[in-house]
């Protein structure tokens, strides 16, 4: 009882702090600059191809990047499930981009992958590649997002996978399952819920991409994401209601992505491939 009494106000304040800004945004979006209460902002957004296509641009970055990030993180985390040599060093290296922040990652990408960067020069010197443009375009954004989100995804999955009782794998091996059968029949069904959560998080973060799209992308064209559109309305045109409307559209897209991920997860569970409580006993 005493604990509850202490907790209620602080939790209420936190909720207010975290939830109200968004409720505010939704209401604001319904009051266009011209006055009144209407859906005018939404209509304007969808009728303007320059704005509406940001949804497609963002999705074409977020979806492949999410698949790539989750798949690679799953492979590496699964291979490392029983600990490997230099685990600590490798984990630290992976976490560097989080620690160093978006800007420095962007700068590092420009330096390493850019037209005068090391990678291009090495490839050219070896005669292995045409001078390909890897930065300030779609590829640059993909690289930046991967560098930022891979570590999160990897650490989440590693935690999830190493929480599964190793005796399950041992028991499947003795019963006649080779490494691939172990993965498909035992580990994957148990990991799937974790993969769904990690995928959902990466997708949502990818869909909100902003600084990377500006710094190593082509913010006026190929990588003009929906977050950039919202930013421009808010901080360049000072049209807060319009910016809020765009933000709401973005939120709806993110929710749609989550719904697809949940649907896939449930279908797998339905066909008996996936899930029945995680491995921790």
């Amino acid at each position: 009882m005493r604990v509850v009494a202490l907790l209620v106000p602080s939790v209420a304040y936190l909720l207010a702090m975290f939830v109200f800004p968004f409720a505010y945004g939704v209401l604001l979006s319904l009051r266009p600059k011209g006055g009144g209460v209407s859906l005018a902002n939404y209509v304007a957004f969808f009728l303007d191809p320059w704005q509406a296509r940001t949804i497609w641009v963002t999705a074409s970055i977020a979806v492949p990047n999410t698949l790539l990030t989750v798949l690679l993180a799953l492979i590496v985390a699964y291979a490392m499930r029983r600990g490997i040599w230099l685990e600590r060093t490798i984990t630290t290296a992976l976490v560097l981009p989080i620690a160093l922040g978006t800007v420095l990652v962007a700068e590092g990408i420009n330096g390493f992958y850019g037209p005068k960067g090391w990678l291009t020069q090495v490839l050219l010197a070896l005669g292995l590649a045409e001078p390909t443009r890897l930065t300030h375009n779609y590829t640059g954004v993909m690289l930046a997002l991967f560098l930022q989100h891979f570590p999160f995804c990897f650490l989440m999955l590693l935690g999830y996978i190493s929480g599964i009782d190793p005796a399950l794998e041992a028991s499947a091996r003795v019963l006649g399952a080779g490494p691939w059968a172990v993965f498909r029949r035992v580990m994957w069904p148990l990991i799937a819920p974790g993969v769904a959560i990690a995928g959902a998080l990466v997708f949502v973060m990818n869909f909100g991409v902003f600084p990377s799209a500006v710094l190593v992308g082509q913010p006026a064209g190929a990588t003009r994401t929906i977050a950039i559109a919202a930013y421009q309305e808010a901080f360049e045109h000072y049209d807060m209601p319009m910016a809020s409307a765009i933000a709401v559209v973005m939120g709806v897209c993110q929710l749609a992505g989550l719904a697809v991920i949940l649907f896939l997860r449930r279908r797998m569970a339905g066909t008996g491939v996936a899930t029945m409580g995680a491995g921790k006993r």
């Binding site: 003795v174 029945m276 409580g277």
Partner: protein
Amino acid sequence: MITSLAFRLTKRFGAKVVLDDLTLEVRGREFVTVLGPSGCGKSTALNLLAGLIPPTRGEIRLDGVRIDGLPPERRGFGMVFQNYALFPHLTVGANVAFGLVLRSRGKAEIAERVRRMLELVRLTGFADRYPGQLSGGQQQRVAIARALAVEPRVLLLDEPLSNLDTKLRLEMRGEIKRLHADLGLTSIYVTHDQAEALSLSDRVVVLCDGRVIQAGTPAEIHDRPQTVFVADFMGYRNFFPLTVASEEGDTVLARGEALALRGRTVVPLRPGDAAVAAVRPEDVETTTEPPGPNVVRGTVRLTEYLGREHGVEVALEGGPTLTVSLAHPVAVGSALALRLPPERVVILPAEGDAR
């Protein structure tokens, strides 16, 4: 049916020797128990046999053919784990069918075999439950059914009963014994419980710090322990350090400051050798004989009700304590004359570091 499983295994983790050249030949239909305290290397031995960890040195031959190069899935063994290790996402039926599905058996054959296996472990009707919905004993039975479904060439059991209640442990012990006999299995069982080792096995191997201390039939291990370590494990709860006074055949007389005991030897001893006399609480009897070798007097210090018997701690004249098990209650503080029958006393060599 196999004829023999012979192995010779050494395992080191870094500098630590976990198994030191463990050599054993198990015959077909034999039930062999590896008995030892936690950390003696007994689970490591089972994992090496199953192929789950690679040996540092050694070989495993099944009917003369080396199998230590094979991965676990190609050895055709069955294994029952201490924590059951049932697949939580599969039903009981699917758990039991797991090994059969991997062997690509026909649907009808699998269904029939799962039914038979569940009947065997008395879980008919549980096929559609999930492991999380079963009690500990039921989960253990599913684990056994799953291991047996593939008709394993050798069944490995890693302390399968240690997570169960006392009563359930007794029941499941009978179950394992019955299945081993009925199905003609070849089983290797790992445990720290001497009662399990004695009741289940054709042969017991006592392990300590990765080395075999003694191996033999349950009766040999129980009646003729060769070291204090084995005797301690086998329920000899009274140990008295003495010196051998005289020997005749396999009987010796050993003396100490407080008592003199005549007893059997398993390992030859000579007069003057430092020895330890071991006797079980149940083997001591009350007597009216006058004091002398094997007859001692003392005062009751503590009593314990054990149902049919009474555990009694007796402080002997001269210092040492004797734990005895008597059929009738005695009062704390009363005086007792006790006889330690020479045929029940074992005189062992004193080894400083034998434990």
